[in-house]
Symmetry: C2
């Protein structure tokens, strides 16, 4: 069965959630949207290509979830409230079954966050998903990369490295991306790769508290490096403080996880800085949104990121690159 | 020579124009933008894929121009002022020469319109360009598809059919897309396909005058059909009133042009409706922006679009489809 572009658009359009600030949604030359007064518009765009950003055999529903998740994660890292998005979908064939499953995953994530799909197109081509996500934040309240100060703590949410471990296990064929894994620990890890959780509530809770923030897509040290570069500061990350995944341990992969957690990408956790005087507030704000948070280091004057162990030995620096900590193969370049 | 994603982004980023309403541009997790008060945000997204939306041998600069032009054309059809855009670029290889040429064409069109590139990404994959363009319009003043009324005139800007003729000449190998054509008329036609002019000034001038508008991407009759569907009216187009291209005639292609002008897409002219009482104002407003405009028919009660000749014979109706008027081959599905 084959559908033309209008059929596919209609299939997705009838699932698009409504928002009172969407004056005109899909179906005209463009959408008309009402910005709340006093807010800045926050805009991000990310593309996922089959075989580059996800294994080609990934289920359509997981692709739909993840394509939106990577964009929502950027809004989270700005402390923005999500609002609207456009979706450009290139498909090798017009398969309504595939499109419906893709929409299942997409709207499973979009709907609870009140994210309205307001435009886009479907075209014929190799499988590729481009999303532009829009949100808003009170003027001057966005979490940026350029506000980190010497003396600030460095924090990270969740369990960075689990998605990278899942990818490594898939590459070793211990894990399939097409369906449930053989035990609960492996299934948890698979879920971190297939359906990452954008930390939107955490981002909102960190407004006025974090001095800088970024989402962990390239790897913890690399992304912290972007904060340091934009803030013109240096960071020390204490290897022993990085959180250890119980699920990795249960899966018998504690050592591999330890190798990956500082450098693997695709977790979409938030890495942020906050004044040392605000430690209690950071713990309380993250507890209020039920997000695990770990203090992993500090900001100092200088440039670059260093990973150090308990004896003060430097395990890696951004000048040398973090490649020897990277999982081989698939890279997450978003 | 090969560049990583950051190198390519940096290459494009340093060419991105500045706007005072861009509080934070490329380089953070998302851009921060200041909406003017009292305006609605206008958002559209379109993707071009190599081999589907343009011949694979199209020069990079023309691709850069056209990928932005099709999006600006949607803003024009809403009567919106252009402001910001994101660009997601999938490239088979990281070629700085290609990226620079692409940026040449892109910014040749973006800069005069004050369109700021505020985000996006580059990924590895088959050549594909996804753009989300944003603009604004005073609340309630947008040109929509759903306002056409029985008794309104139907108008079109420019010379619809010239891009379709150029495509047909390329398919017959009378025209190359890679460089200048052999004479001025052919070169003009090539330019209409390679570098369409989004009718932004015309769209602005039609605020408060047009009752409905759309840009001609799928073909004049098909796009007018979208207005009729959304407005719940019918349209009669008078074949003898459709403008005749002197350039097509000079190229010895008058007959082919006549076959194409009602149905060929890719021209990005505006088709709009306006009350018959406003004819002088329509001519004056289009003269004020130096855009040719032609009255080609009228709106009546009913549904569908009919193309009729001087004797009142129906040449085509939307119920039968306009396919027998279409150029074979490449279709413009945006």
């Amino acid at each position: 069965m084959s559908l033309d572009e209008f059929g596919l658009i209609e299939r997705i359009r009838r699932r698009a959630g409504a928002r009172p600030d969407v004056a005109l949604g899909i179906g005209d030359d463009a959408a008309l949207l009402q910005m709340p007064p006093g807010q800045q518009l926050v805009v991000t765009a990310d593309t996922l290509n089959a075989g580059v950003h996800f294994p080609v055999e990934t289920p359509a529903a997981d692709i739909g979830w993840k394509a939106l998740a990577v964009n929502l994660s950027d809004l989270a890292a700005m402390g923005a409230a999500p609002a609207w998005c456009t979706l450009s979908l290139s498909l090798p064939e017009a398969s309504p079954v595939w499109v419906d499953a893709f929409a299942d995953g997409f709207f499973q994530l979009a709907d609870p966050h009140g994210m309205a799909l307001i435009g886009g197109d479907t075209t014929r081509g190799p499988l590729s998903i481009s999303i532009t996500a829009m949100g808003h934040v009170p003027a001057g309240k966005a979490l940026r990369r350029d506000g980190a100060q010497p003396g600030d703590d460095v924090w990270v949410t969740g369990m960075p490295g689990e998605a990278g471990l899942a990818l490594a296990l898939w590459q070793r064929q211990r894990l399939q991306v097409t369906g449930p894994a053989s035990d609960a620990a492996l299934e948890h890890l698979r879920g971190r790769l297939a359906r990452p959780t954008p930390r939107l509530a955490a981002g909102l809770a960190l407004r006025g508290l974090a001095t800088a923030a970024i989402d962990v897509s390239d790897g913890l040290l690399a992304d912290l490096g972007h904060i340091c570069e934009r803030s013109q500061v240096a960071a020390e990350v204490l290897e022993g403080e990085l959180p250890m995944s119980q699920m990795a341990a249960q899966a018998g992969e504690a050592e591999v996880f330890r190798m990956l957690r500082a450098s693997a990408g695709d977790d979409y956790e938030l890495c942020f800085t906050a004044p040392a005087s605000q430690r209690e507030q950071v713990f309380e704000s993250m507890a209020s949104v039920a997000v695990r948070v770990t203090r992993i280091g500090y900001i100092r004057a200088g440039s670059g990121v260093r990973l150090v162990n308990g004896e003060g030995t430097v395990l890696a620096t951004s000048r040398l690159g973090f490649d020897h900590f990277s999982a081989a193969g698939q890279s997450a370049d978003h």
